[in-house]
Amino acid sequence: MKRDQPFVRKVIYLVAMAALLVPINMISSPATNTRPGGTLSQLRAEHRLSQANLGDIDPAGASMSLATLGMRGVAANLLWERAIHYKKTENWDSFKATLNQITKLQPNFIAVWKFQAWNISYNISVEFDDYRHRYHWVKKGVDFLIEGTRFNRNEPRLLADLGWFFAHKFGRSDEYVQFRRLFREDEDFHAVHFDNPTAPVERRDVDGPDGRPDNWLLSRHWYVVAQNVVDTKAAPLKGTSPLIFHSEPPKTLINFADAIEEEGYLDEKGQTAWKKAYEAWIDYGNRSIPTSFGYEIRLNDLEPLRERLDEIGSEFNELAEGIHDQILAEKKNQLTDEEREVADIPAHELSEDQREMSYEIESKITVSEEEVAERVGAEKRELARRLAREMVSTGAIADTIRRYREIVNFDYWRARCEVEQLDDMVAGRRHVFEAERLFDEDADLEGARAEYERGWDLWATIFDRFPMLLDDIQGEDLYDSVLKYEKLLGQLDQEFPPPGFKLMPLLEAQGREVAPQPGGNLEIDQLTDESESDGAEEVDSDGDRSSDSESEEATDAESEAENAEAAAEESDEAEMPADESSVEETAAEETAAEETGPAESTEPESATDEPAPEADVEEDPAEESADEEEASAEVPSDEPAPEADSEEESGEESAEK
């Protein structure tokens, strides 16, 4: 018996091992093409945890991991340290090689790809002085990121980063002019990149107006790919808000349109680009965006919601007429004397403590819709309650939409996209662009000035219709051109701003202090004075110029007269007189006075000829003498007016679209 015991034990062990094989097989058997595999394989597939679900599997990486004998983390740590050392000692080739090894050990660790791609494109690239070398290293970062998407196919962060790199590194860096040019010409990069395994690029989707790929459009491609991953729920969106995330594709179209116009595509190509940008922005506004309040909103819903609020409000007010005031009075009666005193003090005169109290008072006397509804007569109380509830919820949603809109500057970009399609806008830009070309390349000062002034006319029209553009980047960009114009005038010995300068509101918006010109500066608060003193009575009190052709003619004639004056002046050293009261003299006298020189223009009410004639000319733009002056100054006088008219009319048409 004892001799059989080892044998028996062995048999028992063998049977136990065989029995254990069954659950092991059930749990661990691998998946194949035809079978789903064991429990673990099925769980991996269900929760997308296997490496194959994430992306490609790299045999080199797998073998390297095996070779580390379980110390993959230690090896990766050491490699990171080496990479930092190589970066510090500017050993770029070894640095890049080390990164490759790190990613082979950690192909599914997103932070590695994100961080190091950024490191290469943003930190390493700027270590090189030659912009071509910088471009080369920016591309390396992009290639690195694309490699990361191969192993992490449905990772929106990497895909969005690609969009970001193409957008901002190629299109917004200091070297953006050079990078955009190099990118357009880099056919080798296009050939390799467009054929990438993650999201191949259709050439027609990314070609710019010159038939070559544009970085902004390629950026959009990657953002759209990232969007598709999120929309199809292939992967959740992490690390960024949906509002910002979904705003990127249309923003790339906006930036594309802006960029090509800056490069001189001030024609239907530019307008088409803005049109597409506008449509994309509206589509973005129609997209459902989850909010942190648990409901979804659409940015375009604000106006309809406000209309609905107005309707409900009217209906509610009809039902609850007078109740609101009644409740308010009751609440105010309940305030203490001190509180009543504080409530009567204007907000800007409140002390710190009083301000605190005023907030409390405000909350005490605020009358809610529910309170009003409760006081409505019994027969209509239920309706009032329902309306009150709807007002509150609609108001909350509208408020959320308003705030979300502000985050992405929705209204501004929508208006901008609309405005940029206008013919006036395009024409204005074209004139300024041409003026700068004439100034910078041809040194044609007079030609440049004429183009500038044509452009200012059109821009003035635009700003009148869209004053919001004065205070933003648009205004800032144009202000740079105005500064160039100032420089040009300086070279012509002309003063700045010239009399009747159309963009005074822009100067004000940019914080530029300019002394008022004698009856001439078209500052907003003085337009009424001008309208009283001359025949151009179409200007409204708020300075808004309607699309009245007569006023346009008057304005154009005025500017022409100014041009004539400027051309006839011999020196530009006079200060503008403060007094803008008009002195009516003939143009001939004005001309003679001008020719004698503008020496004493500091006395506002002096009887010298210089200021008066200038003021007079500006205030009597329709006078024939102005035409004579313009003829003698050889300024093309007739052209702007008809042009402005026709452009304005076409602008009206396009605005009506």
């Binding site: 045999p59 080199a60 073998s63 390297m64 510090k88 000692t89 500017e90 050993n91 770029w92 080739d93 070894s94 890049k96 090689a97 490759n100 090894q101 082979k104 270590e127 090189f128 002085d129 030659d130 912009y131 070398h133 080369h136 290639d143 200091d174 070297e175 002019v177 050079q178 080798d188």
Partner: protein
């Protein structure tokens, strides 16, 4: 190539190292004798101990005198056959497999594939050969001792010297054969890896716009790059340099169209012989400065000079003569740029080079250049050059006769643009004396690896004389690692590397403290911990100083030439001589130690 410490000429290097070696040898000898005396005194009493020690030394001397090379070679051949029986050629097979799959791991689109491939094969070879040497050397003697086969040897009139030296020679021979095969395969791997061919795209060729009568064109894309080609009117030309190389282009008129022939890549596998000078700086006021300006970089290897000021970097070259540079001076430089404002993005930063006689002050005409930053600029200065005379005149002078004083000449580099800076280090500017054969340079690097292998073998055998196999392996590995991290240990001791010594760093890791805050324990404990760390780091520093440093080549007796070969510089015979002497020194010491340890085993037996 970065070189933080200058290479001394052999005859300048030798005296100090010899002194150091003799001092350490005497020190170690004294320590060994004293330690032996103490141990023996405990067992046998001081008088007898002194006798034993004296007798052992005497025996050692007699054994050394009667060492037979015949017996050494006999034991060597035994060791050789033993190694072959242990299938050491597997190491070579592993190496071949690594080479075959290297493409999976290497960045084939690297900007400098030659450097990458060379680094890869040299490091892989180094790693495998060192491992081979360890495994061969540490198990041999302990196995013989354990199996008692050692008695068949020691009972013969074989000296312990011969046992130790014989094993070193035998295992060294095995390693030599394997290393030679690895060298051949590596060379083929590298040359095939960088080899590629282009063709000029006919449709891209157009007449040069500069009116020179030549042509400009483009090549096709091969090996992840293409070149721009510039062809002279006579039909000869070159491409631009991409990925560390360029190609020669030849145009010949064919029947209908021109034919273009492109040569193989030139410049990727090279062995430049640089002549480096000494660098000093002048500050913006023109006064001598110890270092250049620090523009905020963490790595202070380079100093910067401010543009538009009297600031300059001055290299002083010695021993210049017309025999070495008959036509003039071929210069290669890599001047870094630091801009404080962008300026013209498409233009580089301008600077000037001025050659000066350090004694007479005569200076040549300024040579303007545009710094290329991170690339190597090549410039050739003719032997006949215009020099400035007092009064603003210029006349042509001879570079060596007028501008060099007894072979010593200064080269001044200034940045011409105000607000911009040039960064320089000593090795960023050199004269390219000549080029040696790349293949020979490659073989020299393997020779240095062979020296490393001998040192490791010696250490392994030395440890195996008194430790068993696994412990010997750990000891040998530990010695190599200690030598590898010599600089890091030094940084911890001096405080350059923050975080403290062994105990302090463990505490910081466990408590998840950062490196720079004071240790969060009570002051007494802090003092004890830091004191202990200081002592232990000091001991480690001492040992690491004694151990071979296979990472660096010039500092602390380093033994590594990978950087030379990978960066395309010739390994000078000066360096080879230094490494050889260093290796001999290590071998002498480990052989002596091995002998005495083995002898003490006999005595103990």
């Amino acid at each position: 190539m970065v070189q933080e410490h200058p290479l001394l000429p052999f005859w300048e290097w030798l005296p100090f190292q010899l002194l150091l070696f003799v001092g350490m040898l005497l020190g170690l000898s004294f320590f060994g004798v004293f330690a032996s005396f103490l141990v023996l005194s405990v067992r046998n009493g001081p008088r007898k101990a002194m006798g034993i020690v004296g007798e052992t030394i005497g025996i050692g001397y007699r054994d050394l005198k009667s060492t037979s090379w015949g017996r050494i070679f006999g034991l060597a051949s035994l060791a050789f056959r033993e190694a072959l029986r242990r299938y050491v050629l597997v190491v070579f097979a592993v190496f071949v497999v690594i080479l075959l799959f290297a493409g999976w791991y290497l960045d084939v689109e690297s900007d400098n594939p030659a450097k990458l491939y060379l680094s890869f094969v040299l490091k892989a070879t180094n790693f495998l050969v060192v491992l081979l040497a360890i495994f061969l050397s540490v198990f041999s003697l302990p196995t013989d001792i354990k199996n008692r086969t050692i008695y068949t040897i020691v009972t013969k009139p074989v000296r312990a010297w011969e046992i130790v030296i014989g094993r070193i020679v035998g295992f060294g021979a095995v390693g030599t054969i394997i290393l030679a095969m690895m060298c051949l395969f590596s060379y083929v791997f590298v040359t095939r890896g960088v080899s590629h061919a282009h063709r000029v795209l006919d449709e891209s060729v157009e007449v040069a716009a500069d009116g020179s009568g030549g042509w400009r064109g483009e090549t096709d894309r091969q090996a992840y790059h293409r070149h721009d080609a510039t062809i002279n009117p006579d039909g000869s030309g070159f491409t631009d340099s991409r990925m560390g190389h360029l190609h020669q282009v030849t145009r010949s008129e064919g029947n209908e169209e021109a034919d273009y022939e492109m040569g193989p890549p030139v410049g990727s596998l090279q062995a430049r012989v640089p002549v480096w000078g000494e660098l000093r700086f002048l500050d913006r006021a023109g006064k001598p400065a110890d270092l250049g300006i620090n523009v905020g970089k963490e790595w202070t290897y380079r100093g910067y000079v401010e543009g538009g000021t009297a600031g300059a970097g001055i290299w002083t070259f010695h021993g210049l003569n017309s025999r070495d540079f008959p036509q003039g001076l071929p210069i290669e430089m890599s001047i870094r740029v630091f801009r404080t404002y962008k300026g013209e993005i498409e233009s580089g930063i301008l600077g000037t080079i001025v050659l000066k006689n350090p004694t007479t002050g005569m200076q040549a005409e300024e040579i303007p250049f545009t710094a290329s930053d991170n690339s190597v600029d090549q410039l050739f200065i003719d032997r006949r050059i215009k020099a400035a005379l007092p009064g603003g005149q210029f006349r042509e002078v001879d570079l060596f006769e007028d501008l060099a004083d007894g072979g010593t000449m200064e080269v001044w580099i200034n940045c011409a643009e105000r607000g911009q800076y040039f960064g320089m280090a000593r090795t960023d500017f050199y004269l390219r004396a000549s080029d040696r054969m790349f293949a020979f340079n490659f073989v020299k690097s393997y020779f240095v690896m062979w020296l490393q292998m001998l040192v490791v073998t010696g250490f392994g055998i030395m440890f195996s004389t008194f430790l068993n196999g696994p412990v010997s392996m750990l000891a040998t590995l530990g010695s190599i690692i200690l030598g590898y991290f010599t600089n890091r240990i030094m940084d911890v001791l001096t405080g350059d590397a923050q975080g403290g010594g062994p105990i302090e760093s463990v505490i910081r890791i466990v408590k998840q403290d950062n490196l720079v805050t004071p240790l969060d324990v009570n002051p007494i404990a802090t003092a004890i911990i830091q004191g202990f760390d200081l002592i232990s780091m000091g001991i480690m520093r001492g040992f690491s100083f004694l151990m071979p440093n296979f990472r660096d080549f010039a500092e602390f007796g380093g033994l590594n030439t990978t950087r030379f070969v990978a960066n395309g510089f010739d390994i000078s015979m000066n360096l080879i001589a230094q490494f050889t002497v260093t290796t001999l020194a290590y071998l002498i010491v480990v052989t002596c130690l091995g002998y005495f340890f083995l002898k003490s085993k006999e005595i103990a037996a």
